[in-house]
Amino acid sequence: MSKSTLSRSKPYAQLAAYLLFCAVILAVPSFVTDAFLLNKFARYLALGLAAAALALSWGYAGILNLGQGVSFGIGAYAIAMHLKLKTSPVHTGSAGLPDFMVWNNLDHLPWFWQPFHSSLFAVAAGILAPVVVALLLGSFMFRARIAGVYVAIITLAMLAVVNLLFIDQQAYTGGFNGITDLAWLEAGSVTFDPYSPAFYYLSAGALSLCLLLGLAFTRSKAGLILQAIRNDADRVRFFGYDVAAYQSLAFAVSAGMAGLAGMLYAMVLEFASPTFMGVPLSLSMVIWAAVGGRGSLLGAAIGAILVNFMQGSLSESFLDTWQLILGGMFILVVVFLPNGLSSLIGILADRLTRPARQTPDTALAALSEAPRAGRTPS
């Protein structure tokens, strides 16, 4: 088919791919009934959502956020605070007060915990709090036209700060142990037992909704402008776009989705821990998105699900060497498959339809080039 019809059919092929993926993940409970597996898949889907959120800010807007754990963690803690207030404390006895507060000799519930009695507030906070944090951090960085490696450094440093503070403020956050022993979320008549199909549908539904909304966002003009910004931010300014506002927007949308993913993750594991805001998990998200294909939300989601599924099964069968295999895989994908597994499919499809056309790899060189040509050490 000629170039133009192929490209005009591209958006529909992409939409079809997204819808197919959503259909597949929503169909899983009809033929998988093992409670343990359902829980595991629900967890992978939540991590898939976090990776897709990262692909939105990194793949589309060129913002490499090494601190995705901040949004992910805030979402997890928001829902955990709500679910903690719903459990009756077994070990410490005093009515309604979470156990770690009793251990830290608090005698009443702090004011900022009060609103978390309502599940609506908790869910809203789980999404909006990361958005607000992202908007503040976003404008703080992008107003000063910070880009590339420096964004990575600032987000990494913020992650370290948030992690340290959450561990230090033990009376309010449970400290290093995190918030454990959570009840199950209730919405109307449905209780979401993390080992039930109901919870799986919640997780799969959230991922599908976010993927489709994300697709709509990236297909809109704003999404196009973000890609232009990633390509050449200065040039975009000369067309009248406030680049900092767009970058903060992408950063905030990504944070909201990551907050939702954090909520699902805390619910599926039935606890929230400061390791959700640790450097290893945040970097893993970046790697899942890179492995899956940072250029596409669906690619990143699939990358996260595949890597975590492999990590789960590998670590059981190859007790000693699973980390070697994982590290090796990351290197191979990053070096030989810059656009991740999803591009593998693209390349194969190219080979099948017409002789491979060597696409210049300039696109990647322009990927928010770090100021490499700094002066040599003087």
Partner: protein, 289 residues
């Protein structure tokens, strides 16, 4: 009064350790723009190398230093020629690839040397402390301070006063143009990466006697070193020295006044603010856009 002097020395000592670890990263990142997240693992390799030489061959610490430098430099060469070489035009991808290398190195060491903590001995004559102004200053830390200064001078000399250094600076300015003048930039890069890794190994060897030697000791080293290099200014040696001084004494000071947890948090916050207002670092001048 002696508390103040003790605190001053602690700040200086922390700064010297930060500089020691960051020096190798400054070379690699400054000159080649490669963000090497496996830098912490090279430090760990240096520590394990020292332990291995000490436990198997009974070599005292000082001779170990030289051997470890070349062993880890060789490891750096291998890593550069197998993986990093493909990524010079993709700075952000080096973060991911080197993180993968880090995971593999950790697990390889855990399998070979075991997960237990390893013991590295301080040389006899350095294990005591010297009384200066009424405060017991650990002589081993003085030794580290002195050696860091020497390494700094060596690095500056290699970069500024040797032919290799001149070629390195040429390749850094413009790799393609340097190649046109017959400089084998690929080899220069490999040598630079090996030199940086060797420095990291040396840091590991020096730090091993006062810190704990475990397969995953590298992770918190690399985050701090990365901050020091970026705050100091990409490719600026003086910047790295000054920023490790600032961050080191800052950490020590706040830790004494408040506590270590807040010290770490506040220093990270300071890094965020510094990178935001001086992204190109303290010592790299404004470049015309």
């Amino acid at each position: 009064m002696d508390i103040f002097f003790g605190q001053l020395f602690t700040g200086l000592s922390i700064a010297s350790i930060l500089l020691l670890v960051a020096l190798g990263l400054a070379i690699i990142y400054g000159a080649m723009g490669v963000i090497n997240l496996a830098h912490g693992e090279f430090v760990m390799l240096g520590a394990y190398g020292t332990w291995f030489l000490q436990s198997q061959f009974g070599l005292p610490l000082i001779p170990c230093l030289l051997l470890v430098f070349f062993m880890v430099a060789a490891a750096g060469w291998v890593v550069e020629s197998t993986v990093v070489r493909f990524l010079y035009h993709r700075p952000l991808d080096t973060i991911l690839a080197t993180w993968g290398i880090g995971i593999m190195l950790q697990q390889a060491v855990r399998l070979s040397a075991g997960a237990e903590l390893r013991y590295v001995q301080t040389p006899e004559f350095l294990s005591g402390s010297i009384d200066i102004a009424g405060v017991g200053i650990p002589s081993y830390r003085l030794f580290i301070l002195a050696l860091t200064a020497a390494l700094l001078a060596l690095t500056w000399f290699v970069i500024q006063r040797t032919e290799f250094g001149m070629k390195l600076r040429a390749v850094t300015q413009n790799r393609e143009m340097a190649s046109c003048y017959g400089i084998n930039s690929a080899r220069i890069y490999s040598l630079t990466f090996a030199f940086g890794s060797g420095l990291a190994g040396l840091a590991g060897a020096l730090v091993a006697p006062i810190k704990s030697v475990a397969p995953d000791m590298g992770t918190n080293f690399v985050v701090d070193a990365f901050m020091v290099v970026v705050v100091g200014g990409v490719g600026s040696l003086i910047g790295t020295v000054v920023s490790s001084g600032l961050l080191g004494s800052g950490t020590a000071g706040i830790a004494f006044l408040l506590n270590d947890t807040l010290a770490k948090a506040l220093v990270f916050l300071a890094v965020v603010v510094l990178v935001r207002f001086r992204p190109q670092g303290l010592f790299v001048d404004q470049r015309r856009r």
